[in-house]
């Protein structure tokens, strides 16, 4: 009986996420949402989500990229497949691993914070007070976080991918300019326009999910403060699942 209830609850939670995401999307694309207060809140969220962790994140992503590139290129050279090494680095590291890891990092740092924050706001009655004051929490609190998370994930992804691309060139050819034609050719063969569009879409989806799933999970909390940890836990599990699902779908669409 409890298994069935858990199953239904699981579905209801996902339904809740879907409904919230749709509503947030509608609000995010409505012009009336972007009041100066909303814009300022969004910028502040971007600052907190992307700028603050930037040095540490850049360092981490550089290290990760360097290790993966070095391993890939050395192994490919060992097998006599150096011609495929760059393509492999682009396809695995730049297109899949770096965006996924970036989304995971933002989810761990900001997703959990958003989740807890919303759960506490809900439990403390702050959201109800807002509604009483005829302030739409969606517009004032949720949409800025959603947009900021999407922008932050995209921004961090673009920057760390650029670092990875530069590192791939340096590891493969060193500081010589003569690898540029071959590098350009590999770029051309990997990054077709559909791949680029898919990359952008995936980044945006990661960004939206990183905010939408924690917010909707936070809204599941009750007036009881003790419900907040459970809401956060459920939200984080669903968030990681959603990120993995997006990654799997992206890879499946590209290679299946």
């Amino acid at each position: 009986m409890s298994t069935a209830r858990a199953f239904v609850g699981w579905f209801r939670a996902w339904g809740h996420v879907g409904r919230f995401a749709l509503a947030a999307f509608a609000a995010a694309f409505a012009r009336s949402t972007y009041t100066p207060i909303t814009r300022a809140a969004a910028l502040q969220q971007v600052y907190l989500t992307a700028w603050q962790p930037l040095p540490g994140f850049v360092l981490f992503s550089t290290l990760l990229s360097l290790v993966v590139i070095q391993v890939t290129i050395t192994a490919a050279r060992g097998f006599g497949l150096a011609g495929y090494a760059l393509e492999l680095v682009f396809r695995v590291l730049v297109l899949e691993l770096v965006p996924f890891v970036t989304a995971l990092m933002v989810a761990l740092r900001s997703g959990s914070a958003i989740n807890t924050e919303v759960a506490l706001m809900h439990a403390s009655g702050e959201l109800a007070a807002m509604r009483d004051a005829r302030v739409d929490p969606m517009q004032r609190e949720f949409v800025p976080r959603l947009v900021a998370a999407a922008l932050s994930v995209l921004s961090l992804t673009v920057l760390s991918c650029a670092i990875a691309l530069a590192l791939a060139y340096l590891v493969m050819y060193g500081f010589s300019p003569w690898g540029f034609p071959e590098y350009t050719r590999t770029i051309a063969s990997v990054f077709s326009l559909p791949i680029l569009a898919g990359f952008l879409l995936k980044g945006a989806a990661f960004g939206v999910v990183v905010a939408a799933v924690p917010i909707s999970a936070g809204l599941e909390a009750t007036r009881d403060l003790k419900s907040a940890p459970i809401a956060v836990m459920g939200g984080m599990v669903r968030l990681v699942l959603a990120l993995a699902l997006i990654e799997i779908v992206s890879v499946a669409v590209k290679y299946a």
């Binding site: 910028l43 502040q44 969220q45 600052y47 907190l48 992307a50 495929y84 920057l159 077709s192």
Partner: protein
């Protein structure tokens, strides 16, 4: 009331900087990709026709001397059931394509098939834009089934050879008996002759031959001594050869005398013919001369006998007179 952590005053500038940088990087990369894909390059079309374009994909390179000179843009099946690979050749790479160029599609064991162009004579007129060319095709993987079939028959042969009761097994058994015999007391001889008795006989025969050779050695030593003595006797000081030499000298002198006497005989015979009247004198002279000739001949004969005596190997004792 604001539950979020405080951001510094200039957070809007910093955020703008970050987002601006992101935008610049993203747009820059898109432009780079467009450049890489030849978006800003003038190209000329080229169509390659083949009966099988399997594995060729859009974006593949057409390479000349290992350098890409063009790229596959589209693959389509023509109305004649042949695959048409449409390429775009940047004008920079088009100068390597000539009317006499040959296009090949080579398929290795892994990786996508490679389109290659070979231009033997770069003096030929350049390939006009929009040309349609045939592709020569080589496929490693198509060769594999044939190879497998050959390999299978070879393996079957090996299996028959090595099966129990097969010829290889029998040969190996023979080899084993041979090596067993080699390891026995008579060793290799026993293995070659088949039985131990025969081998022993051979060994005894060899022993006897050895003894025989030893006694032959003694005989040859004696022979050596005898030959040495004979040598001394024949060629040594006062030996047979010396005597023979002296006899030959004497014979020469005797023969000279005989020649003189005979000349005188000729003269006398001529006198006799010319002076027939003085027949009595002539006959008296002839009697004396004959006695001289006889004496000379006897000397010669004695000399010959002496030579024959000193030269024991001479058998023919006859001497011819001139």
């Amino acid at each position: 009331m604001e539950p979020t952590p405080k951001a510094p005053q200039n957070f809007q500038f910093r955020t703008g900087l970050l987002l601006g940088l992101t935008l610049v990087v993203a747009i820059g990369f898109v432009v780079y990709v467009l450049y890489a894909r030849g978006f800003f390059e003038a190209t000329q079309p080229l169509t390659l026709v083949t009966d099988n374009a399997e594995g060729v994909s859009i974006g593949d390179d057409l390479s000349f001397a290992g350098f890409p000179v063009g790229r596959v843009r589209r693959i389509a099946l023509g109305d004649d059931g042949r695959a048409r690979i449409e390429l775009s050749i940047p004008l920079d790479g088009a100068r390597w394509l000539r009317t006499s160029s040959i296009f090949t599609l080579e398929k290795g064991l892994f990786g996508s098939p490679r389109l290659r162009v070979y231009s033997a004579n770069l003096m030929d007129p350049p390939l006009p834009p929009g040309s349609v060319r045939q592709v020569l095709r080589g496929d490693t993987s198509e060769e594999i089934p044939k190879m497998v079939a050959t390999l299978r028959s070879a393996l079957e042969n090996i299996e028959q050879l090595t099966a129990s009761g097969g010829s290889l097994q029998a040969s190996l058994a023979n080899v084993r008996t041979l090596t067993d015999k080699l390891a026995e007391r008579q060793g290799m001889l026993g293995a070659v002759l088949g039985s131990e008795d025969d081998a022993r006989k051979v060994v005894e025969a060899i022993d006897r031959a050895n003894a025989l050779l030893a006694s032959l050695g003694g005989v040859s030593r004696k022979l050596d001594g005898m030959l040495g003595k004979a040598d001394n006797r024949v060629f040594g000081e006062g030996g047979v050869m010396d005597g023979a030499q002296q006899a030959v000298g004497q014979a020469n002198a005797a023969l000279g005398e005989v020649r003189d006497n005979l000349k005188r005989v000729e003269r006398i015979l001529a006198d006799a013919e010319a002076v027939s009247g003085n027949a009595k004198n002539a006959t008296a002279d002839l009697g004396a001369l004959r006695a001289e000739v006889d004496a000379s001949l006897r000397k010669v004969s004695g000399l010959i006998d002496e030579i024959n005596r000193k030269w024991p190997f001479q058998r023919d004792s006859e001497i011819r007179l001139p």
